[in-house]
């Protein structure tokens, strides 16, 4: 009897839990779903009042137009996509390399002014990106590197390095020093010990730093909007604005482009997330 009541209560709690989770997920996912939905229906329906909840007129026209190339009012999505990819991937790789070197140094070595430098890195993050856009524009204009991949990569590396160093430092700290020492006694050089032992163990941390850096560059708008001008270097977030013209906004096209932006980011996150097995260092030392 008592047992039964207990079980009922537990079931009730579980149901409540699920409902709560469902509501939370709904709030989080709805905007995303709305974007996907809107990319599939005409502007009339999107703008209709009262809102049309159930889509009536589904078509892939927006996507067809988008990839149909410039010309019939289309937007050079392929170019934007290529720019975004080149800029994000290159800047992420560079930020990771610097982040690994810096994070390792912070985690393993003592040097003068260590905490001051660390604090300095963190402070750079306190400056809002938009405040930098004008000075950056002026400097870049003088240097004649406006509207180039190089300038955007430079900006994103600078933006991401403090964060990657900070994150990777934390992960290297978790790898016991003894392990690299053991590897050195086992015949490794300092360099080999790093790649054979410390790197694989900090790997998940480095991967998450990579995701963060990539997503930051992939989604960044404020600075890119200033520095990029044309198909030479315009990234997808800036490209979104191409759908606005003097009198109309092509909501459907914009949403479609947004979907095109979200998909690679999501895919990448999913792929890497699988490798983010935490607690990998467990068992190295006495447990």
């Amino acid at each position: 009897m008592d047992n039964n009541a207990h079980r009922l209560k537990r079931r009730g709690l579980k149901a409540l839990h699920l409902v709560g989770l469902f509501l939370a997920m709904l709030v989080i996912c709805l905007p995303g779903l709305w974007i996907v939905l809107n990319s599939l229906r005409p502007t009339v329906e999107i703008m209709a009042k009262p809102p049309v909840w159930i889509p009536q007129d589904i078509s892939l026209d927006a996507y067809r137009n988008m990839f149909g190339g410039a010309g019939q009012g289309g937007i050079p999505v392929w170019e934007y996509f290529r720019n975004s990819l080149i800029i994000s991937v290159t800047s992420t790789i560079i930020a990771l390399i610097i982040g690994m070197a810096g994070g390792y140094a912070f985690a393993r070595y003592k040097f003068k002014g260590k905490s001051a430098i660390f604090l300095g890195f963190m402070l750079t993050r306190a400056v809002p990106g938009i405040a930098l856009s004008l000075p950056l524009f002026m400097i870049f204009a003088r240097l004649n590197i406006i509207d180039t991949h190089f300038s955007m990569i430079l900006i994103y590396v600078a933006l991401n390095v403090p964060f990657t160093i900070w994150l990777i430092d934390g992960f290297f700290r978790q790898v016991p020093k003894d392990l690299a020492e053991a590897a050195q006694i086992d015949g490794c050089t300092r360099w080999q010990a790093f790649w054979q032992v410390e790197f694989p163990l900090a790997g998940p941390g480095i991967a998450s730093a990579g995701i963060f850096a990539f997503l930051t560059s992939w989604n960044e708008y404020a600075l890119a909007a200033q520095i990029t001008r044309s198909v030479n270097s315009k990234t997808l977030p800036v490209g979104l604005l191409d759908y606005t013209s003097e009198f109309t906004i092509d909501w459907r096209g914009m949403c479609a482009l947004a979907v095109v932006m979200i998909v690679p980011a999501l895919t990448l996150t999913f792929i890497i997330q699988k490798h983010l097995v935490s607690g990998l260092t467990f068992g190295a030392v006495k447990g």
């Binding site: 016991p176 003894d178 392990l179 020492e181 053991a182 590897a183 050195q184 006694i185 086992d186 015949g187 490794c188 050089t189 300092r190 080999q192 054979q196 032992v197 694989p200 163990l201 990998l280 260092t281 467990f282 068992g283 190295a284 030392v285 006495k286 447990g287």
Partner: protein, 365 residues
């Protein structure tokens, strides 16, 4: 052939010296233990031998050649860490074979040597597990296996048993001893446990505050401690040590009680000299309940009340008060004793130790 020699070895961190110019010769295939209290510089010394710590001053030679400037991998050593330091992302087999893989040894030979070591250490069942799936004792054995597989000339151990429970510790201790007989390598073993040091080693190095207090066989450091510190450090329960003043043929303890001056030291002290008198619990025993060593040539008897007793089954530790201090005596073939009961105690003064109160050095020459 790999004797290890330390010459005037110094380690400084900034301006603070933690190892103060120690000299030591470890013979080829010798098992030597470094013991001493926490913070005395044992690990630091060992890590300098391993090449993990820079040498501030002095020379380390392995196999007759200075190794000061060689990296760890070029010193032909293995080390077992207190934390074991197993590679968590590798299986037991990979952990043990790692050094050979790095050394570009052929896979067939790696397998053979790893299996050999696994057989010695009884690890065959666990070869495909990760370190996280092993118990503490098993991890310890993997760490030893990883060291053996390299076939180094020198093994270094830094408190390899301190993370094991008491029973396992005794077991692994025996295993290490057997291993030493089998692999025929020089072994340097750091521990703060004097029992481990006594049972395992050919010679013991007792360190304190970055200095070597004494180097000797377990018997030597037990029977003829060079300093008061060694006397108190080696042996369990520890030696009874008491301040005394020489007065004619007697040693006057605090509170006025006195014992005869041991014959051995009659002409090594002068009247009025302050000394530390030491006698092991084994050499104070309720009369008739001691070791029948047969060499008891200088036995003195006193009647004293028992304060408390600690029965251990085959023997009983009897605590008595003398010279305002508590003394421990060891009673063999024990009979029950009541607290407060006055018993006759034999003090075997032929086994006594005297140290200078000033320098702490033995007065035996």
């Amino acid at each position: 052939m790999a004797p290890v020699t330390l010459k005037k070895l110094v380690k400084r961190y900034g301006n603070v010296a933690v190892v103060h110019g120690i000299d030591l010769e470890v013979k080829d295939r010798e098992f030597i233990a470094l013991v001493g209290p926490s913070g005395c510089g044992k690990s630091t010394t060992l890590r300098m031998i391993a090449g993990l710590e820079d040498i501030s001053d002095g020379v380390i030679e392995i196999g007759g050649k200075p190794v000061n400037d060689l990296p760890p991998r070029a010193r032909n050593i293995s080390m077992v860490f207190q934390s074991y330091a197993l590679y968590p992302h590798m299986t037991v087999r990979e952990n043990m074979g790692f050094s050979l893989k790095i050394g570009k040894v052929q896979q067939s030979e790696i397998d053979q040597r790893v299996n050999e070591a696994a057989a010695i250490l009884d690890l065959e069942k666990y070869m495909d597990r990760r370190p996280s799936q092993l118990s503490g004792g098993q991890r310890q054995r993997v760490a030893m296996g990883r060291a053996i597989v390299r076939k180094p000339e020198v093994f270094l151990f830094d408190e390899p048993l301190s993370n094991l429970d008491a029973k396992l510790r005794t077991q692994v201790r025996t295993e290490i001893k057997r291993l030493h007989a089998k692999v025929q390598a020089t072994m340097i073993y750091v521990t703060h446990d004097q029992v481990e040091a006594m049972t395992l080693s050919d010679r013991i190095v007792i360190m304190r505050d970055g200095h070597i207090e004494q180097v000797g066989t377990p018997e030597e450091v037990f029977k003829r401690p060079a300093t008061r510190f060694v006397a108190g450090f080696i042996g369990s329960p520890p030696m009874n040590l008491n301040e005394a003043t020489v007065d004619g043929g007697r040693l006057v303890l605090k509170g006025g009680q006195s014992l005869p001056l041991p014959i051995e030291f009659r002409n090594k002290v002068v009247a009025g000299e302050k000394v530390i008198f030491g006698l092991r619990p084994d050499d104070i025993y309720p009369t008739g309940h001691g070791l029948s060593s047969g060499e008891a040539t200088d036995v003195h008897e006193l009647s004293l009340p028992v304060s408390i007793t600690e029965p251990l089954g085959n023997e009983t530790l009897v605590f008595i008060t003398l010279g305002e201090k508590e003394w421990v005596s060891r009673m063999l073939n024990p009979r029950p004793l009541a607290a407060g009961e006055t018993i006759k105690l034999s003090f075997d003064l032929s086994q006594a130790h005297l140290f200078s109160a000033e320098t702490g050095k033995t007065l035996r020459s």
